[in-house]
Subunit: 209 residues, 2 copies
Amino acid sequence: MEGEDRRQQILRAAFEEFSEKGFHGATIKGIAERASLQSPALIYWYFPGGKEELFASAVESQLSFLQSFRDPEALLDLPPDALLRKVADAYGEFVSRPVTIRLARLLLGEAPRHPKLFDPVVARGPMRVLRFLETYLERQVQLGRLRPHDVRASARAFLGMLFPMGLSHVLLPQLREHGPTDEEYVATMIETFLDGLRPHPQEAGDDGD
Amino acid sequence: MEGEDRRQQILRAAFEEFSEKGFHGATIKGIAERASLQSPALIYWYFPGGKEELFASAVESQLSFLQSFRDPEALLDLPPDALLRKVADAYGEFVSRPVTIRLARLLLGEAPRHPKLFDPVVARGPMRVLRFLETYLERQVQLGRLRPHDVRASARAFLGMLFPMGLSHVLLPQLREHGPTDEEYVATMIETFLDGLRPHPQEAGDDGD
């Protein structure tokens, strides 16, 4: 088995171990056994940062929506409705995976006790998507596709709007009762957001700068 | 001490006990002692549902934003920018209270282990605000102030947009770095949302039905 495959195998084993036993209950030895490694010490070859690094990397490996951003530069020129739908669909697919419920339980279980464990998880997941979205929206403003506005706020607002969809799958099924389907929700959400950020007619007509 | 004061005193004591010891560690006896009750059995006079009811009611008593909805009928005719700002400000005030961090830790700590504990909390807090907002937005559509749209989706989207503000105070201070202030965030968020739901010019000019 080659390096990258071995690494992926360890990450899967680590996610199993962490989600069954929590961060403190999990052991390097247990992860090595699940990954059928001959020696637990080999894990440090792949993850020199030990258990903390394994935790962050194991969680990151489950964030399937990150795959949509593998080539971020290619996304920068997509029209807003296409890009936002891509982000929303990737998130919808992520929160609909059964494994995401286990991921959420793991994170919720650890968050209150070990807030420091989360800084790298947050940096690799949500903050990365947020920074990308800020960059993307700023570029759309420059291209004249969106009106000038505070993209720090709109990027946060867009990701915030996705959140009820995730909650409804993972933690609050109540939100689905008498609620829209994911498709209906995403359609209304993106239409409202983009209509709200469309250049005002007078701005669109200006020569502008 | 009269009934309602006594009830409030028990709720404060219960919140202290639950947030220190978690749901399972907390005891009726411990709550009674904190509330200086002569007998723990008296607690059942005020809360016949026992520990589960106390948990839901103690959490509800900390949801300060509910106070803004004490007279929901009076809110139905407020203009959208005023009502939405009121909701956003109440939420901003709530998430900025130091006690809300303890509340979030309590809920996050219990959520993975006792999901059933949450149904009444969710019903008394977020679902109540969501149902109100759906009713409010539907009414604004009827009044012609907003264009016809799926209010189940827009109500969820609006509450979702508030969420990054809460997260930034309670769990993810990273969101504040290079981020907008609460005031800037709320201003952009409401402006975008309302511009996105404004009646289209052709619709506004129609006789409509």
